[in-house]
């Protein structure tokens, strides 16, 4: 199997395990609000970290493109529009 196929299998099995654990731990988690809060705020924090590292890696151009993309994304929540604007600004900055 290729690396991609291994990744799909590993991701499928472990994601189902997480879902099953969440279902099985339902009652316990309802009694530990601190754990619940930590887990529900975690995805947002992780995505913010992903964005910040991408900008830090990409430098000035990435930062400008990210600001442009956020300006579109915050009011519209529109994926296609945000990608077009972000990539457009990035492509323009890198060719000028």
């Amino acid at each position: 199997m290729t690396e991609i196929q291994n990744l799909i299998v590993a991701l499928a099995i472990s994601t189902f395990a997480i879902r099953l654990a969440g279902y099985a731990l339902g009652d316990v988690m309802n009694r530990v609000p601190v754990l619940w809060r930590a887990l529900s705020v975690f995805p947002g924090c992780l995505v913010v970290s992903l964005i910040c590292v991408a900008i830090a890696e990409g430098g000035r151009d990435a930062m400008i493109a990210a600001i442009a993309a956020a300006t579109v994304a915050i009011p519209s929540r529109n994926l296609v529009l945000t990608m077009v604007v972000g990539m457009g600004v990035m492509a323009w900055l890198q060719t000028h």
Binding site: R19, R37, V47, R77
Partner: protein
């Protein structure tokens, strides 16, 4: 179930947009159409699939790709916990299907209906999950065909496509003012660790973990259903 399919359809359009973008990016990372469809059906967690493809394209090691993508899926712990009373009422076989088919969109839809006094249950959850899965599969297949054409998407700033997708993801995850402090902490820690020269996966995970520790210590209603 049909009611779930019907009410899930508007959400499926949004999911389809993500699916299309994911397909294009996955094709650029070397995925075939069959692989993309199988991944969608068996993983069924779009944002983690996008993260996995991005990390793979960035040449991160196998375990780094897996851990980063799974970290994002830890949100299914509170999500499944909050919907477990709905799933418990299903017969055993359907229960496993309902657990697998619980995604952000149909989870939120089901709980929203129930909080308004609706009588929707596990059949609704499964129906809405199936229409989302269908939309994702079709859209991501088209995305692969589009993305594996004879052109080089790098010219169009494709590297930034992921960042743009993450920005929209973050917008969707934003739950209001209480997120501000944890998110700021996450951003500062992630950039700080990155500037120290450590592995990017370490920077991303430390940002996520420190933000959620701060978030857990802040006073807030315990129910994720209130999002």
């Amino acid at each position: 179930m049909w009611f779930g399919i019907l009410k899930g359809s508007p959400l499926a359009i949004g999911v389809g947009a993500y699916g299309l973008a994911f397909g294009v990016l996955a094709a650029q990372a070397g995925f075939s159409d069959v692989e993309v469809v199988l991944m969608g059906i068996f993983v069924f967690a779009g944002s983690s699939q996008i993260v996995a493809v991005e990390r793979l394209a960035a040449d991160a090691g196998f375990m780094v790709v897996l851990v980063t993508a799974l970290a994002l899926n830890l949100r299914y712990l509170p999500i499944l916990a909050s919907i477990s009373p709905v799933i418990k009422s299903a017969p055993k076989g359907s229960r496993l299907l309902a657990i697998h088919l619980t995604a952000d969109e149909n989870w939120a839809l089901t709980l929203a209906y129930r909080s308004k006094g609706g009588t929707v249950g596990w059949r609704f959850l499964i129906g809405a999950g199936l229409i989302i899965m269908f939309a994702w599969s079709v859209a991501s297949t088209f995305g692969v065909w589009l993305g594996s054409g004879d052109f080089d998407l790098d010219r169009y700033g494709i590297g930034f496509a992921f960042t743009a997708a993450f920005i929209v993801l973050a917008r969707g995850l934003w739950r209001g003012g209480t997120d501000l402090i944890p998110w700021t902490v996450a951003a500062i820690v992630a950039i700080g660790v990155f500037l120290l020269g450590l592995n990017t996966a370490v920077a991303i995970l430390s940002g996520g973990i420190s933000g959620s520790i701060v978030g857990a210590m802040m006073p807030r209603p315990a129910s994720v259903a209130a999002q």
